[in-house]
């Protein structure tokens, strides 16, 4: 048989044109984006842009609104990722037994994941309505005073977080469940035969086996939380008093409300760099050994 990697290998023609297209497109896009971010391009006065060097990046460092948005993004991402993983893992361990209708439960867990995010935002805005929403009605049943879920600057970010947790914890559950089912059961039984208690089996044998799946789902959830937009746009529009404005959302406002696209792209670039640094850090913590994959 011929070596498959030979230069004449015809299978190369199947993917190379597309890879080249994607590469050219992303390189051109990157250069264009950097070029714009070094100018003061605004849609309000097109055609009169001039080179401003790193001004947009310096402006970012001195922009308290941007800094607050960055901090909020970090807070939201860390809380969403940690809570979703912890809650998801707890549910997986809870469901780890044979019971009737397990398949049906799995199908039902899929529903939040494939629901249109805009509809998820509307749903939770409906439930959180201060006067007629279900959330306050439930509180009134147990005699707790009404909460202004989306109208209070101290609470609104956490209300959006609740919606995010509702939508994405099932994703963690399904993914970890799949990993658990493909894991071998022999080590578990061996540990039980050796007299380990049930919590010891879970902690020392089961969790290490799930590490790779948990690490992957943590990375995915972190990427998506940093970029979260739909729920914020629908539920709060960054308000009240900018208390739910994340960096991604601020970038959107700068670009399409103020039409200051140079500064918006500087923000987008900073967000991208920031995401990459965070991911690489997470990656090296979660996959410390090189032979892990």
């Amino acid at each position: 048989m011929r070596p498959v990697a030979a230069a004449s290998d015809p299978t190369r023609h199947f993917f190379q044109p597309i890879i080249v297209c994607l590469t050219v497109a992303s390189v051109a896009l990157t250069l264009f984006v950097i070029w714009i971010s070094l100018h003061d391009l605004s849609l309000m006065r097109a055609g009169r842009e001039k080179f401003v060097g790193l001004d947009n990046y310096i402006r970012f460092l001195g922009d308290p609104r941007a800094m607050a948005a960055l901090w909020r993004t970090v807070l939201f991402t860390v809380l969403a990722t940690v809570i979703e993983i912890a809650l998801g893992l707890a549910v997986v361990l809870f469901l780890d037994r044979d019971f009737a209708m397990k398949r049906l439960v799995r199908t039902l867990l899929l529903v939040p994941i494939i629901m249109t995010p805009v509809v998820v935002g509307l749903t939770w805005r409906f439930l959180f309505d201060p006067a007629t929403g279900m959330a306050n009605y439930l509180l009134s049943l147990v005699g707790i005073a009404q909460v202004d879920w989306l109208g209070s600057p101290r609470i609104a970010l956490f209300s959006v977080l609740v919606a995010d947790i509702w939508q994405w914890t099932p994703f963690v559950i399904l993914l970890v469940m799949a990993a658990l089912e493909s894991a071998p059961t022999d080590p578990l039984n061996a540990a039980r035969v050796d007299g380990a208690r049930e919590w010891q089996v879970t902690w020392y044998v089961l969790l290490p086996m799930l590490r790779r799946a948990l690490a992957i789902v943590a990375l995915i959830r972190a990427i998506d939380s940093i970029k979260a937009f739909d729920l914020f746009y629908i539920m709060t529009r960054g308000g009240p008093a900018l208390s739910t404005e994340t960096l991604n959302y601020y970038g959107y406002i700068v670009a399409f409300t103020n039409f200051d696209i140079s500064y918006a792209l500087a923000i987008a670039i900073i967000l991208t760099v920031f995401t990459n640094v965070a991911l690489l850090t997470m990656y090296s913590v979660l996959f410390p050994k090189t032979g892990d994959r």
Binding site: L110, I113, I114, T116, W124, A178, L271, N276
Partner: protein
């Protein structure tokens, strides 16, 4: 016995938490305005289709439905067609080369949409393409191609290498192996990939918000028009929300085994 009962109570609570918000929206869409805002909530009521009549009388919503349909089908078909060719080639490569390519494809996913939407918006205003369907189809195809490639590779990997070797011994050309052996063998995976692309495109909001004009608005953008300054028309809104999500829930349940695989790009097989 008590443990078992406790387990089912826990399971019921879990399902209640997952399904109640959805149930409440769908049920509200069949209520009159008075019932929808009654406190304490009305659990039993005589259903009405008034909200759906309002939605169907809204021409903007109907054209948004058509736009969503056209844009998600065309861009997904384009992405899967291009993606399956590339994925076939990549699936035949030695491991190191593949991993480098796959990493590159994955890295395209990390950048926030803002990064490519702003330049696209800027160029589109320059050439007057903002209100054109092809702009949206191109944007989504660009987003979906890397996804389709990464997912399709995992399906092509499931096909035994012996099939390809046997076809080559028979003197088949690469393209005919791809067309007559791989495509039929991976049919289920290709359909699943197509459905997932449609699902993501249909649900996508940010790109659509920026790149659509009056004539090309998709459903998620169009539904925000019910959030008016005069207040929110919850009745019509819940009916519209139900109409938007139901087709996707049906599609999602059809390919349920593949959703988790798709969202993790095959790194975990569900």
């Amino acid at each position: 016995m008590a443990r078992r009962a406790l387990f089912y109570v826990g399971l019921a609570l879990l399902l209640l938490a997952v399904l109640f918000p959805l149930y409440w929206v769908v049920v509200t869409s069949f209520k009159t305005t008075r019932d929808a805002f009654a406190i304490p909530p009305v659990w039993l009521f005589s259903p009405t289709l008034d909200n759906y009549r309002t939605v169907f009388a809204n021409r903007g919503f109907l054209s948004a439905f058509a736009n969503s349909f056209i844009v998600s089908i065309l861009s997904s078909a384009l992405a899967v067609a291009v993606g399956s060719v590339a994925a076939y080639g990549l699936a035949q490569q030695p491991a190191e080369l593949r991993r480098a390519r796959e990493k590159f494809i994955l890295s395209l996913r990390i950048a926030p949409a803002l990064l490519f939407v702003i330049p696209m918006y800027y160029l589109a205003t320059r050439i007057g393409a903002l209100n054109k369907h092809w702009l949206l189809i191109a944007a989504y195809a660009f987003v979906n191609v890397p996804f389709a490639i990464s997912l399709l590779i995992t399906f092509f990997d499931d096909i035994p290498k012996e099939l390809r070797d046997a076809a080559r011994v028979d003197g088949a050309r690469e393209f005919s192996i791809f067309w007559h052996v791989y495509l039929p063998a991976a049919r289920g995976g290709i359909i699943a990939t197509l459905i997932l692309c449609v699902l993501f495109t249909w649900n996508e909001f940010f790109v659509a918000l920026v790149l659509t004009g009056r004539d090309t608005q998709t459903l998620p953008v169009s539904i925000t028009s019910f959030l008016t300054f005069q207040g929110i028309q919850w009745g019509a809104l819940t009916a519209a929300a139900t109409l938007i999500m139901l087709p996707m829930i049906v599609l999602g349940v059809l390919v349920q085994g593949q959703v988790v695989r798709g969202m993790t790009l095959g790194s975990v097989k569900g």
